[in-house]
């Protein structure tokens, strides 16, 4: 409670400090515009619809990437889980996966999918999917044996046991994978737009930067920040509920 309050106070104080530094000219307008101006600029671009197409593309791509990563990661996780020898072979690779800077492969994706959404989604999925695979394996590992036995006692079929016992038992762990997939999809899509796109919020930010259009640039950054914060808050609420149920 007071911890939360303190956090809000710190954030607000930081914003006010930046606002002050901008207003009195310690931070020049060429470097950064005042937070209040960012809000005004964001209002303007949203009202004008100038970047609506970019915004739509970016968030659509993030959504597609998230859904694909979660589905593919879950299915791959279940398959790997059911093949222990395969799992033993590739688990070390999964563990060191995030040591690889996925973005260096962008030329391959451009060759394969061309410049545009397909390449961007491919990179984002590549980045996100392994977190879901790992979370799925972890979730399946964590299902207490006694719950599966309970399913047997109620003479449930394999499919019913999977749907009514194993899936809900693994859900809190799977959700960790969903959260990471969302985060990696944001990173993957927006960062890819900087390097291999002619549209999207990432592209628009880079474009504005090159033209010294600080108003647009900071407005778009603020937009991304706001969306990420809202999405994360929402995911955290669900996560906390799921974790509260987890007892073992």
């Amino acid at each position: 409670m007071s911890e939360k309050l303190l956090r809000v106070i710190v954030v607000v104080a930081m914003i006010l400090l930046v606002e002050l530094l901008c207003r009195i000219g310690v931070i020049p307008r060429m470097v950064m515009i005042a937070p209040s101006d960012m809000v005004v600029e964001l209002g303007k671009i949203l009202a004008s619809g100038q970047f609506s197409a970019d915004i739509r593309i970016t968030f659509t791509n993030i959504a597609i990437s998230t859904v694909l990563s979660v589905l593919l990661g879950f299915v791959a996780g279940v398959i790997i889980y059911s093949l222990p020898s395969l799992r033993d072979a590739i688990e070390p690779l999964l563990a060191s996966y995030y040591a690889v800077p996925t973005f260096v492969f962008y030329p391959i994706f451009i060759t394969l999918f061309g410049v545009g959404s397909a390449s961007i989604i491919a990179i984002a999925v590549l980045l996100a999917v392994v977190s879901m695979v790992t979370a799925t394996l972890n979730g399946l590992d964590r299902i207490p044996r006694v719950l599966r036995k309970t399913g047997q006692i109620y003479r449930m079929s394999r499919v019913k046991t999977a749907l009514l016992i194993e899936l809900p038992a693994a859900t809190p762990y799977l959700f960790t994978g969903v959260k990471l997939s969302v985060a990696y999809s944001f990173i993957g899509v927006i960062a890819s737009e900087f390097i291999l796109s002619g549209a999207g919020v990432g592209y628009a930010i880079a474009y504005a930067y090159n033209l010294f259009e600080n108003g647009h640039m900071y407005a778009l950054m603020l937009l991304v920040l706001i969306v990420v914060t809202v999405v994360n808050t929402f995911l955290n609420v669900i996560d906390r509920r799921l974790q509260a149920r987890r007892q073992r």
Partner: protein, 280 residues
């Protein structure tokens, strides 16, 4: 005091009962395959459970009690020997068997009511009948005020009661309980024992109770089986001779002392074996 009140000495299994046994094990063994070796966990075990009997198993930790329960429940097959329930070989979980496991098996994503109703819903029972049975079991187990709570909000002992209620609503003919009161304090354990006796009288189910508490075994059972250290076999069967209408007040009778003394005499030797093995 008549001789009938003394702990009866019964010859070791197999016992020849006149009525066919409700559940029967003959020469049952269980061996686990470990990565580099095998582990002989149980047997050979012979056991006849009479219909409506309250039978308890006591034995040192790790002697194969839960393994024995798994075989009776049809959750694992014996390496050798035969297991029968109601005259039929046990292959998979038989209809009419209910189990309360040693570990907490409550479903954390369901509230108490939904946990208790789980098996009935799987069986596709009429919702009105489900409600009736769940209400009864939830009340019986003293969970009425927690019907909407989730397991994470309950103590370990209460979660175990949820599991007991979830088993009872199915009205099993054979109830297998694996240290169900392990997480409870002594007083609650005795009272829960009374509830279990009440339930047993009301349902006429056959009960097999695994416990490490000798007093619990002595007070609740018609008959107590004492197991040796691993691989567990029955080294003694003690008939208590209690009336069907008993309750926890029997603990203050001399006969209760006789029974626990007899159980301890047998178990002490087994416990000493483990201690000396541990030292050596």
């Amino acid at each position: 005091m008549s001789a009938a009140l003394g702990a009866k000495v019964v010859p070791l299994a197999p016992q020849t009962a006149t009525a066919p046994a409700h559940a029967r094990l003959r020469g049952v063994t269980r061996v686990f395959d470990l990565p580099k070796s095998t582990l002989h966990a149980l047997g050979p075990v012979d056991l006849d459970l009479a219909k409506g009997e309250f039978f308890s198993v006591v034995g040192p930790s790790g002697c194969g009690k839960s393994t024995l329960l798994d075989i009776l429940a049809g959750l694992s097959a014996p390496q050798s020997g035969t297991a029968e329930f109601e005259g039929k070989p046990i292959q998979g979980v038989p209809d009419g068997v209910g189990v309360v496991f040693q570990e907490d098996a409550s479903f954390p994503w369901l509230n108490v009511r939904d946990n208790v109703a789980f098996g009935l819903r799987r069986a596709g029972m009429d919702p009105a009948e489900i409600n009736r049975r769940v209400d009864y079991a939830v009340g019986f187990m003293g969970l009425k005020d927690f019907a909407a709570s989730y397991p994470a909000q309950l103590s370990g002992g209460m979660r175990q009661r949820v599991c007991i209620a979830r088993t009872l609503v199915m009205q099993p003919r054979l109830i297998l309980l694996d240290e169900p009161f392990g997480a409870l304090d002594q007083q609650t354990r005795l009272l829960m024992g009374d509830e279990l006796l009440r339930l047993w009288r009301e349902t006429s189910a056959t009960i097999l109770l695994i416990t490490h508490a000798l007093d619990e075994a002595a007070m609740l059972s018609d008959r107590v089986g004492v197991m040796s250290t691993r691989p567990g076999t029955f080294i003694d069967f003690v008939e208590t001779g209690w009336e069907r209408d008993r309750d926890s007040r029997v603990v203050s009778t001399p006969h209760f002392g006789d029974i626990t003394a007899r159980l301890w005499e047998k178990l002490r030797i087994e416990a000493l074996k483990i201690m000396s093995a541990g030292k050596g």
